[in-house]
């Protein structure tokens, strides 16, 4: 109960702060949407090509800009805040879970906006009936990326090159997430089986959660 209460509170405050600072919605999302325009502007009005590459562009930007969103929270943690959480009796696992949940919500909002912009600019083949499975893939991807970034933030906390190190950890380890999410989305479009790719996403999310909870305490102690 204490773990869940603390995790919920960490997530709540993260989202309140984000609502006031607005870094995700006011800065990163517009940049990502602007990046969507690069290919159409470079290629010209080749609608067939745009329809074909829409999904690939979406997932590429989802990873690049999603990493920034997911890493932002841990990058903002000062040593004083970490001490505050430690001396407030906040379980490191609760902090990991709370950060992951708030990151998941922010990433899901970001991916929803990016998806709508991709639909408008690239018109990828998506039918209305595909949406539930697509939403599931996006949420599982968002959760996994948020958990991975939170974990990377904890591993690199207190180090001088933490920003670069965290990105280096997240980029390669997000491969199963990108693969699972992109293939699930592609499978929906082709009416192919998506179960194995969805299971890959789910298994990665579960593994990241278990590892994150297990190492949160030892990582905090290692910093002392």
């Amino acid at each position: 109960m204490k773990l869940l209460r603390q995790a919920r509170e960490v997530a709540r405050v993260d989202l309140v702060v984000e609502g006031r600072v607005g870094e995700t919605l006011r800065v990163i999302v517009p940049f990502a949407v602007a990046a969507l325009l690069v290919l159409p502007l470079a290629q010209g009005p080749n609608l067939a090509l745009l329809r074909q590459v829409g999904a690939a562009v979406f997932w590429t930007l989802a990873v690049l800009f999603g990493m920034q969103i997911a890493l932002r929270q841990s990058a903002n943690d000062t040593d004083a805040r970490r001490d505050f959480y430690a001396l407030s009796g906040v379980d490191p696992a609760a902090r990991f879970l709370g950060r992951t949940v708030s990151g998941t919500i922010l990433l899901t909002v970001f991916l929803a906006v990016l998806f709508l912009a991709t639909l408008a600019l690239y018109d990828p083949p998506v039918a209305g009936g595909d949406l539930p499975a697509l939403v599931l893939a996006v949420v599982l991807f968002a959760y996994g990326l948020a958990a991975l970034a939170t974990l990377a933030g904890e591993v690199s906390a207190g180090l001088r090159s933490r920003g670069a190190l965290a990105s280096l950890i997240v980029a390669p380890l997000s491969l199963p997430l990108v693969l699972g999410a992109a293939q699930t989305a592609a499978g929906i479009g082709r009416d192919a089986g998506i179960l194995s790719w969805s299971l890959l996403l789910l298994a990665t999310d579960i593994a990241l959660t278990v590892v994150g909870i297990a190492v949160a305490g030892p990582l905090e102690e290692a910093r002392t």
Binding site: K2, E9, V17, D83, A86, G89, V90, T224
Partner: protein, 217 residues
């Protein structure tokens, strides 16, 4: 009738802290009993903040042994006692984007404390009228008051003050004194550090730290 011996809250024996090859603290022996107000003075870079972080169990020693609130230093036991320790450090441990009230409410929610105490505590430190001001827009002195309110809300057994009185007006300094009295009267202890020995006048014991070595003043 035999009285039970009073257990010290902090016991350090020959503690040394080294980071990146530099000795930050050397052979520190310290005992803090309930009711003690221990003042430590020393110049900048002498190890005052490191000593406080060591007492707070936020750093672990490389040498020696010790206990804080009964937990052995450098072991997982310290994890369970940290919420009984309060630290007012150099840098305010507040969320700048939240209001004064929201910061304390956050602390209460995290600790499972009675949230109805937040407003009365803010009024005690003279921040009742500033409860809905964002911490980012508050003065340094006001932020210090929020941290004092934080300690009043949490009521730690071991209170650690790092230059807590620096730059405060007489009213705010009085709040620190009242907080100190409250902690010691309920069986706790206070360790306070300052570069200025004049800030340590009310302490029951005064020590001096120089180049990481602690000595009686």
């Amino acid at each position: 009738m035999r009285l039970a011996a009073v257990q010290p809250l902090v016991v350090f024996e020959g503690i040394g802290v080294t980071r990146d090859g530099n000795a930050l603290l050397t052979d520190v022996d310290l005992e803090v009993a309930p009711g003690d107000v221990v003042g430590v003075s020393g110049p900048n870079g002498s190890g005052k903040t490191t000593l406080l972080r060591l007492v707070a169990t936020l750093i672990r020693p490389n040498r020696g042994s010790g206990t804080v609130l009964g937990a052995r230093m450098g072991t997982a036991e310290t994890f369970g006692i940290r919420e009984r320790i309060g630290l007012i450090g150099h840098e305010p441990a507040l969320v700048p984007e939240l209001t004064v009230f929201e910061n304390l409410d956050h602390i209460a929610r995290l600790g499972g404390l009675d949230r109805t105490r937040v407003m009365p505590v803010l009024e005690t430190v003279g921040l009742g009228g500033a409860a809905h001001r964002r911490v980012r827009a508050a003065s340094r002195g006001m932020q210090r008051r929020v941290e004092i309110a934080h300690m009043l809300l949490r009521q730690p057994e071991l209170l650690l003050l790092d230059e807590a009185a620096s730059g405060l007006d007489a009213d705010a300094s009085g709040l620190i004194d009242a907080l100190t009295r409250r902690v010691t009267s309920s069986g706790g202890a206070v360790v306070t550090v300052s570069h200025d020995p004049a800030h340590l006048d009310g302490c029951t014991r005064q020590l001096r730290i120089s180049a990481g070595r602690l000595a009686l003043r």
